[in-house]
Amino acid sequence: MKTKVRQLLEEGRVDAFIAYKTVHGLPFPTVFTKADVGVLETWQPFKARYPVTKLLLAQARQNPDKTFGVLVRGCEERSLYELFKWNQLHPDKVVVLGQACPQDLAFYCECPKPYPDHLDYGEAPKPVQESRRLGELHGMPETDRLAWWLGHFNRCIRCYGCRDVCPVCFCTECSLEHKELIPTGKLPPDTSFHLVRAVHMAGRCIDCGLCEETCPSHIPLRALYKHVNSLVEGIFQYKTGVPDGKSPFTMLGEESFLPTGVR
């Protein structure tokens, strides 16, 4: 980080750079400006994860004229692609440096691409293509699946942690707080809470797993969103988290997205 980030800041190619600083022995996301180049540290692989692109979005919203640099993992780069496509960030205002994840993190995340396209630091680890949990769920009969989900949903404490940590939850008004749509004053919230969030993650979730990690009730949220994205891919041939294309739900028409066969 020392050389590349320093260079970007000193050459004025970015106004600020979001990277990491060691605080109490742990890497902590930090906004560096030209004044801070002296405290930049040498890059080392690490496993701590933060919603850095969400921090970037907050910074960019407050400083619309500034250009930001950011150090991203594979999933964080995928979230940048989505934020560009959903017009939340401007690609001209973001400079990306990428880091590979440690192999054990990739296994832990069951990550299909544990490294970014722009790889500046580290070696790309082996990806994991299959999700064990999703396989297990697909193999289950419908009625068992309902019981399985309810067994998890009934622990939800409606803390909104899953939404608040999510790098692609960028809305300023959230449907999960829509009083007519999702009944309030009910704990645990009913299934509609989770299904509404699942609808929003279709064509948007970049499978970072932060929601599931944050959830104080250990609800296997990632499997739900992994599945909605596999639906979007299966039905519309749209892949989330890649640089091109647009979510099929953002445009009207487009015959090419329609399922073939009898309509």
Partner: protein, 146 residues
Amino acid sequence: MAERFEPRILAILCNWCSYAGADLAGVSRFQYPPNVRVIRVMCSGTVSPHHVIHAFQRGADGVLVAGCHIGDCHYLKGNYMTLKRMKFVQELIRFAGYNPERFRLEWISSAEGVKFAEVIRDFTEKVRSLGPAPSFEASPRLAMGL
């Protein structure tokens, strides 16, 4: 003998075709079961997956969304969006463990009063055979109505 289960079915119909089709079925006095409650929307393309989820959350046993045939939408391509969203929401409820046959998407024109009555008859019987929809309550206590 136990009473016959009467399903509650919500039909969301577009103003220009399917609602007119329902109207035609009415004035033509075609018989169809009274289990369906109708909501009229300007175009089926305005129906969000949220509406379908919300209908089940509020206790619908079946949900029908109907609009103009592809190519006939009065807003040109509104029903392409309907098709995309509804195909998706049906698969979503399947994954969550709810029977996707409780949801149906149909194209019904203003001239198809007969088809409207048929769809309602057929769908009502289907949902009747499936029995009451499982509750959306995640708390076992609430799910049992205690």
